[in-house]
Symmetry: C2
Subunit: 482 residues, 2 copies
């Protein structure tokens, strides 16, 4: 679209903190004022309001279709897990027990065994798999569930870290280690595609260090997204368990050769955190900027001088046509000034705004404004639907490229602890050599408040550990993180 | 479709209890053997397996689209509710406190206030509404959530009554009593349409007695479905709260006239119980019979003598065409006899089976068998897609009519307690006059193990109470119930 006008209204009313001055306050202001979310009555909980839940529904629909296309089926496992299940896998209980919420009473009586509200479902799903799987013919098992989980957290923020959150957790069982590892990597690749194609967020994927891996996993692979402030947000993980859980839960199958063998398992998850990632990857001084694929409202129509010259009728006509073309559109016919409406819908991150006034109708045109670049163009009314559909694709692509360019400029290399500190202080991801020892990893945390996000050895391992100077075994991306 | 053949294989292998001899055992056998569901590790919980969850997904998708079409938006409210919230509405706490599961510890420490796992969300949603609603401009609020809830039950059965279940709960706020009542009745009507059009289950709707109404409601309206054994299953409810909850939770708005007023609220819900209703309304001696609109698999293709004459290729071609036509189709190419496959898919309730063998291909035909009537017909391959789509609609309509005819024959009238007893013993719904007093209602329960399902005064109230002989105030449907 040839944008001939500049849409950036200098007089916009600032209802939110300055994104450059105080990013944390900007985030809080934006999520509350756009009515994405509210604080729940219990500390650390959130209420996902209709505008925020619509984002989650769009994410779910897109992701669920992708899962189904590769043979994953959905199921639902119980919320409550006997505490004893956790103790079957030693690392797992150590990792999750401290965060668990526990039901001790129910139906007016004390329970014989306390029950955990699932923080993750490996243990209960493993128990069921052990019952269901008999033979190699039953493998692979590829099941996902969409549900709520609970992890009691000390510091919480809406979408980013709350005691209860919504997620999907996939749990698979395979006959061989190779197949389970293949699945682990396949799902990581699916997540990466999803983040880029749907959320318009470029991500870096790789193996986690021992310190950062999931409790009970042989290996965890993470997907890291850079936020506007240069911090990293882990937006999804995929775990390879080897036989850890199949041995703990007796997931065995009779193989073709007539012998009983333990299966190999994987699990992988993404959550409502992704909404936080979208907010902090794309937002600007005016508020939210949604990629069209997940925007609750893709197009907002604002009538100008609505009482005159058939404006309302033309808006309704356009809205119907857009709906028929599969566009999520709303018309704002409230009795208030167009300027206030522009402000509000910009803050709410709607990708495209259409303005129609009496003069536009006379000229057979409407004005189309895009949220991502503030570009504005006049478009003939009879070509508006086609133009808007093109524009939505263009915005989706542009947002990814813009994020990618921003991120790529903010990945630096360091050869010393001081270099790592300077790098993260400059709001960068820092690549550095690492000897592989826990002490060096902890030192980065203490000194730079940064953690090892992923390893990217495939890029070539530096000669020396940036922290201790000994020979490096890995190339690591260090960053401060949400 | 002209069904020229009879498909009822006399040799079918009976893996499930006799539906006429032992309906309860038949139900348990069917839900477990078709892999709809399994028992969870904690007493009273269920695991909804992929085949069962697909039914729920189909129900959700259909119902959710209907909600959205009438302006309802989805949101998500927290699972955990402070116990003190329940005590704000006196009847509500009395009704739900005994069934609640309570979290007393979390994050390794004892909580200051115990938290209930939501048995229903009026209290927490009311708390948020009080915060969100300021002015008449904010009304009506029409919000729904899809979530899990928990009610600690003593006797449980998969789908019908489990401690945890999945449901949707809509919660609305209105400026006037009339609007809130209109909404209550609108949603009841929506549920009825859904039950009939989607589940193919005819339902009776009406007001509940004081004894049977929701704890805290001014009035509850229920939707009752007759199961094959003549018992009733409450498949959905819609509640009018008047100002009970708005006063308890301070849901107030500033009206046009400048005064602060309490809103009027409603709530309405349906759950995974509906899956139980479908099983027990349509099943037969061979197992499940799914209405096409919610069947996880609508068409199963079974190749006969698959190794010969391009059978597999033809099956794959047909499957692709059906998928493209929006039909949920699977091909069973397992290495076992077609007869065993027929048995299994009949038990699993798949509406249509297609058989293709080498001779069929030579003749350019396939055999199409319907699950509901066991009718079988030969259809030209080049018209198969069209025929199958027609047939799916026909089956959907036929199942509703068949259920309706069966039910209508089993509604009787009674003029005495003995008449009520005989009626329900004969597996009927029994219509009778009722004076309106609790004693008579309790007497029916004691004597006939039946409860007042709904009132249907609009049909004309009988002169006398069938129980005590005093003047009747209502006409009631008594039935045994799930």
């Amino acid at each position: 679209m040839a944008e001939t006008m500049e849409n950036k209204d200098k007089k916009f009313v600032k209802e939110i903190a300055d994104i450059n001055d105080n990013f944390a306050q900007w985030y809080t202001d934006v999520v509350l004022k756009t009515e994405l979310v509210d604080y729940g009555p219990v500390k650390g909980t959130m209420v996902i309001r209709p505008y925020g839940y619509a984002v989650w529904e769009n994410i779910q629909r897109e992701m669920d279709a992708r899962f189904k296309a590769i043979g994953v089926k959905n199921a639902y496992f119980p919320l409550l897990i006997p505490m004893s299940f956790f103790t079957k896998e030693a690392e797992h209980v150590e990792g999750f027990a401290p965060e668990v919420a526990v039901v001790t009473h129910a139906g007016g009586a004390k329970l014989e065994e306390p029950l955990a509200i699932r923080p993750t479902s490996e243990t209960i799903i493993g128990t069921m798999y052990a019952k269901w799987i008999q033979s190699y013919r039953d493998l692979p098992v590829l099941i996902n569930q969409w549900c709520n989980v609970m992890r009691w957290e000390k510091t919480t923020r809406p979408f980013l870290r709350t005691s209860e959150f919504l997620w999907q957790e996939g749990h698979t069982v395979h006959a061989t280690a190779e197949e389970a590892m293949e699945e682990t990597m396949l799902m990581l690749a699916e997540y990466k595609k999803f983040a880029e194609e749907v959320l318009a967020i470029p991500v870096l994927c790789g193996k986690k260090t021992e310190k950062e891996k999931f409790a009970g996993a042989e290996a965890t692979f993470g997907m890291e997204a850079m936020m506007i402030d240069g911090k990293s947000l882990q937006a999804g993980t995929s775990h390879y368990f080897g036989q850890n859980f199949s041995k703990a839960f007796e997931i065995k199958y009779l193989d073709k050769d007539g012998t009983l063998k333990y299966g190999y398992t994987s699990s992988w998850g993404t959550s409502t955190r992704m909404i936080g990632a979208v907010i902090m990857a794309h937002g600007d001084e005016r508020g939210l900027v949604f990629p069209p694929k997940i925007a609750p409202v893709q197009v907002i129509i604002v009538p100008v001088a609505a009482h005159k010259g058939g404006v309302n009728e033309k808006c309704a006509e356009l809205s119907e046509k857009l709906k028929a073309a599969g566009v999520r559109v709303e018309t704002d016919d409230r009795d208030m000034s167009p300027g206030r409406k522009f402000n509000e819908w910009e803050m709410k991150g709607v990708p495209v705004r259409i303005e129609i006034g009496p003069r536009d109708i006379e000229n057979g045109v409407c004005a189309i404004c895009r949220r991502d670049t503030f570009g504005k163009a006049e478009v003939p009314l009879d070509r508006a639907i086609e133009k808007i559909k093109e524009l939505l694709s263009e915005i989706q692509a542009n947002m990814l490229e813009k994020s990618r360019a921003r991120r790529d400029k903010k990945i630096v290399e360091a050869e010393s602890l001081d270099g790592i500190l300077k790098g993260v202080e400059g709001q960068n991801f820092v690549k550095a050599g690492w000897c592989g020892c826990r002490e060096c990893e902890d030192k980065v945390k203490e000194t730079a408040q940064a953690t090892a996000r992923i390893m990217c050895d495939e890029e070539g391992v530096p000669e020396r550990c940036a922290i201790c100077g000994k020979p490096a075994k890995h190339k690591v991306i260090f960053a401060r993180a949400y």
